[in-house]
C-alpha cells in the first residue's frame, strides 16, 4: 500500500523526532485516519452518539490545528508524543505542566477572565484537546507514556471541568483550598465518567426516538412529561391493533357475498380514494 511505503521511507531517517517532522508525521496519520472511518464504526463515543464519523474527524482536525498553535506559543517544548487520531499532543515537559496549572488557577480566580493571551490560547487549546481526548480515553491510554498519564490525568479531569464551566458560562461552585489544584464542580450534568458518558449518549438516543414517536402519534405534542407521552403511544398502538381486528371481522362478514375477483376489488378500492 502507499501508506506503508511512505512509512518505510520515513523510518529510514535517523535521528530524534523534531517538531517539524512530527508535523509531517501527523499528516500521514491524518491521511491514514481519513481512510479508516468506514471500518471503525464501533467502539468509540461517536458511535455511541451515532454522529457521522466525518463530523467527529472534523472536530479532531480542529484540535489538531489548534494544538500546533499551542506548540508554537509555548516555545521550546520537549518532543511531544503523538496520538493515533491526529496530533493531539500532551506536553511531556513537567515545567510546562506547572505553568499550565498556574494559568488555570488564575483562570478560576477570575472566573473566566484570563489574564494573558497565551494562557487563554493554551487553556482553550488544551480544553478543546481534552474535550475530544476525553471522549476517546481508550485510544489515548496506549499512546501517552505512563508517567505523563499518571501525572496529567488528575490534572486533565480538573482542567476539563474548569474549562467546561468557564466556556459553558454555567454556575460553577469553586472550592479552593491551599492545594495547587482547584476542584470545580461543573454543573449541568457534565460527569466525566466513562459510564456516565455512555449513559448520557444512550439517554439522548432514547429521547430522540421518543420525539420521533411523539410526532407520529396524533395529539402527543401537547402533552408534557414523558410518562404520559409513553402512555399515549402505547394506547395508540393498542387502538390500531384493535382497529385491525375490527376491520377483519367486518371483512369476514362482507366476504361471502362477493366473488373474490382481484380486478373488481382493485377497481372498487381505486374508486374509494
Amino acid at each position: 500500500m502507499d501508506l506503508t511505503q511512505g512509512f518505510g521511507a520515513r523510518s529510514g531517517v535517523v535521528g530524534p523526532v523534531t517538531g517539524l517532522e512530527s508535523l509531517n508525521f501527523s499528516d500521514e496519520f491524518r491521511h491514514l485516519v481519513a481512510t479508516m472511518p468506514p471500518e471503525n464504526t464501533g467502539g468509540s463515543f461517536t458511535a455511541l452518539l451515532e454522529m457521522p464519523v466525518t463530523q467527529a474527524m472534523e472536530l479532531l482536525h480542529f484540535t489538531d490545528s489548534s494544538s500546533s498553535q499551542a506548540r508554537t506559543v509555548t516555545g521550546d517544548i520537549a518532543p511531544t508524543t503523538l496520538h493515533p487520531f491526529g496530533a493531539l499532543t500532551f506536553p511531556s515537559n513537567s515545567l510546562l505542566l506547572d505553568r499550565a496549572a498556574r494559568f488555570s488557577v488564575i483562570a478560576t480566580e477570575h472566573n473566566g477572565n484570563i489574564s494573558g493571551e497565551t494562557a487563554n490560547s493554551l487553556q482553550s487549546n488544551s480544553g478543546a484537546n481534552l474535550d475530544r481526548v476525553k471522549a476517546e480515553p481508550a485510544e489515548t491510554d496506549s499512546m501517552v507514556e505512563n508517567q505523563n498519564q499518571n501525572y496529567s490525568s488528575g490534572k486533565r479531569k480538573e482542567r476539563e471541568k474548569k474549562v467546561k464551566s468557564s466556556t459553558n458560562k454555567t454556575k460553577s461552585s469553586v472550592e479552593s483550598d491551599k492545594l495547587p489544584y482547584v476542584h470545580v464542580r461543573a454543573r449541568r450534568g457534565q460527569a466525566t465518567d466513562n459510564h456516565s458518558l455512555a449513559e448520557r449518549a444512550r439517554r439522548e438516543k432514547i429521547n430522540a426516538r421518543m420525539k420521533l414517536l411523539q410526532e407520529l402519534v396524533p395529539g402527543c405534542d401537547k402533552i408534557q412529561g414523558t410518562a404520559l407521552v409513553l402512555d399515549e403511544i402505547i394506547n395508540h398502538v393498542q387502538s390500531l391493533q384493535r382497529q385491525v381486528e375490527m376491520l377483519s371481522m367486518r371483512l369476514a362478514a362482507v366476504n361471502p357475498r362477493v366473488d373474490f375477483n382481484l380486478d373488481s376489488i382493485l377497481a372498487s378500492e381505486v374508486s374509494m380514494n
Binding site: 414523558t226 382497529q243 385491525v244 366476504n255 376489488i265
Partner: protein
C-alpha cells in the same frame, strides 16, 4: 415531517403496496377454502386477521425489519412452514436488557413503558429500549397504513 425522521430510518411504502399484498393474501384465502366455507365464522375472522398482519409485514419490509421478521416467524410457526431469511451483514450488539450495571440510571419510567411496548410490538423481547422505540415508530406507521387499506376495502365492498 420533522428533522428526526432523517436520522432514523422509518420508511414505509405507499398504500398501494400494502393493498396489493393484502388482496393477494385474501385471494389466496379464497382459493384455499372454496365454496365450502368453514363452520365457524370466527375461524374466518382469524384467518383474515392473520392474512392482514402477514401481508402488512411483507409489504412493510419483509425480513429486514425486526418486528416483521418476528411476525412472519410467528405466523409460519403456526402453519409449520419455514421462513426464508435473507442473510445480511448486521452489526451484532450484545445489549441484554435484563442485565444492569446501575439500575437507577435507566429511567424506570421509560423502562416500564418499554416493557409494555415489548408485549405489544412483535419481536420486542430481545431489543434495547432505543431500538425498540425505533421499531415501534415503524410499526405504528405500517399499522396505520394497513388500517387505511382495510377501511377502504370494507367501504368498497360493503353493500350500498
Amino acid at each position: 415531517m420533522a428533522s428526526a425522521d432523517k436520522l432514523i430510518n422509518t420508511y414505509v411504502p405507499e398504500k398501494d403496496v400494502f393493498a396489493l399484498h393484502f388482496l393477494q393474501s385474501l385471494s389466496n384465502l379464497r382459493t384455499q377454502n372454496p365454496l365450502n366455507s368453514p363452520d365457524k365464522s370466527i375461524d374466518r375472522v382469524r384467518k383474515i386477521k392473520k392474512a392482514a398482519y402477514v401481508s402488512m409485514a411483507r409489504a412493510a419490509g419483509g425480513t429486514s425489519r425486526l418486528w416483521s421478521r418476528a411476525l412472519l416467524r410467528r405466523a409460519a410457526k403456526d402453519d409449520n412452514k419455514s421462513v426464508r431469511f435473507s442473510r445480511r451483514k448486521r452489526k451484532v450488539t450484545w445489549k441484554i436488557s435484563s442485565k444492569r450495571k446501575r439500575s437507577n440510571q435507566r429511567a424506570p419510567v421509560v423502562e416500564e413503558a418499554a416493557e409494555r411496548l415489548r408485549n405489544l410490538v412483535p419481536g420486542g423481547g430481545g431489543m434495547e429500549t432505543s431500538k425498540l422505540m425505533e421499531e415501534t415508530a415503524h410499526y405504528i406507521k405500517c399499522l396505520s397504513m394497513q388500517v387505511k387499506v382495510m377501511q377502504c376495502l370494507v367501504d368498497g365492498l360493503s353493500p350500498k
